[in-house]
Amino acid sequence: MGAILTTDRLTKNFGGLTAVNDVSFSLEQGEILGLIGPNGAGKTTLINLISGAFPPSKGTITFEGRDITREKAHTVNTLGIARTFQVVRIFSRLTALENVLAAMVDRKHKGPWSLVWDSFFRRACALTEDKEACATADSLLDFVGISKYRNEQAGNMPYALTKRLEIARALATEPKLLLLDEPSSGLNPAELTGQIDLIQKINAQGTSILIIEHVMKVIMGISHRLIVLHYGEKIAEGEPKVVYNDPLVVEAYLGGDSDAQH
């Protein structure tokens, strides 16, 4: 199998604050790797670094043997890494279908001007009338279970479903690695179960997954391995059960047993 993604001594400073400090880990092909840690531990920053939202201060990121440390977000995506966001970032004025269609464009080979050319000489009059493209998009909407909202403006969809739409949109770019930033935040217990099933279904199709999650039920249930961040540093790594009982991790979550008074 081998690692699909490796980070080496990754560090990110914001002004005086070190959000991610010297983090090295690797993600195996086909794996679901969970990323946990208390509030402010640097989990989202780590995902932002990998997805190219901003460059690291130090360290390298390697994806499929290629150094992607300095690549911009859009390039990272065309190389095969897709992501979702902690607070959904869907295209609110487009329909669910259009959200997915927008992601299906072959951006690796086509820039803006070739799309301009295409709009006059290739496709059906409108993208939404392109049967082939719509069929693919529909199957993705169906896969995440929101076909019903196909023609609904994304901004009008229930929040829980926009999280699924975001996943469908990410899948539409045919990623080899999917970065999920708290896919179940804001969901109720019933919706939670559906989300777990969905993530496992995606993984079953061969997509590697890096997932940040604070709902322990979710993360313990689906991760093959866990990484724990605390103050930007990796403090534990390994099988969920082992990590769960690691005293360092318990300490990070519950706080030290110390007080100036004692």
């Binding site: 607070v87 804001g186 103050y231």
Partner: protein, 235 residues
């Protein structure tokens, strides 16, 4: 003193608090625990009148105060020290403190409180004329708390006061919180990451998960409860 009944709050379509009920009695130190995104900050913001409550009531000394503008809520003595050391970076330390006393007209009382605050935080006295933006994280957090004290709070709400601080500084902050509670006798609603410490000082505590209160008990009882660890680390 403060009663929250069936509170519901949402950001757009995302419901952040479903049906939250809790209370704070005079002289208590109540702790609010919960993981990232559980809705703790949202709750504080709603009490302070920054977020709108969709449903439910917030009752302060017998009066409904939900959805009142924030300055009226501050006027009634409900003071929040926001998360992330939100001081005014381009104001001096003295000016920051003066803003803390913004709603007060009793100059003598403010002067007296200022003296007390300087006793509590001698560092701030030294740095009166320094711009707040140039201070270290711990100092800024001290300033934020001092600023809150100058408002003469009846209820002081502290949002993650130790977040992102080095262990030594964190201890100092804990020490100050104890002093404020025990020596000044100010009622405190505390949101804190460090569950173990927070439960030790708290008279009572609530655990918030995904916008719902899932546990409520005395601090000591919760600290002894094996379920608390589970609430943090899984079911």
């Amino acid at each position: 003193m403060l009663n929250i009944e069936n509170l519901k709050v949402a950001y757009g379509k995302a419901v952040a608090l479903h049906d939250v009920s809790m209370r704070v009695e005079e002289g208590e130190l109540v702790t609010l625990l919960g993981s990232n995104g559980a809705g703790k900050s949202t709750l504080l913001k709603t009490i302070s009148g920054i977020n709108r409550a969709l449903e439910g009531r917030i009752v302060w000394n017998g009066k409904e105060i939900q959805n009142q503008p924030s300055h009226l809520i501050v006027n009634q003595g409900i003071i929040q020290v926001p998360e992330g050391r939100a001081v005014f970076p381009d104001l001096t330390v003295a000016e920051n403190l003066r803003m803390g006393a913004f709603t007060r007209r009793d100059e003598d009382g403010v002067a007296k409180d200022l003296k007390e605050v300087f006793d509590l935080f001698p560092r701030l006295k030294e740095r009166r004329t320094q711009l707040a933006g140039t201070m270290s994280g711990g100092e800024a957090q001290m300033l934020a708390i001092a600023r809150g004290l100058l408002a003469n709070p009846k209820l002081l709400m502290l949002d993650e006061p130790s977040l992102g601080l080095a262990p030594v500084v964190r201890e100092a902050i804990y020490h100050v919180i104890r002093q404020i509670y025990q020596e000044k006798g100010i009622t405190i609603l505390l949101v804190e990451q460090n569950a173990r410490w927070a439960l030790k000082v708290a008279t009572r505590a609530y655990i918030l998960e995904n916008g719902r209160v899932t546990m409520e008990d005395t601090g000591a009882a919760l600290a002894a409860n094996p379920g608390v660890q589970r609430a943090y680390l899984g079911h």
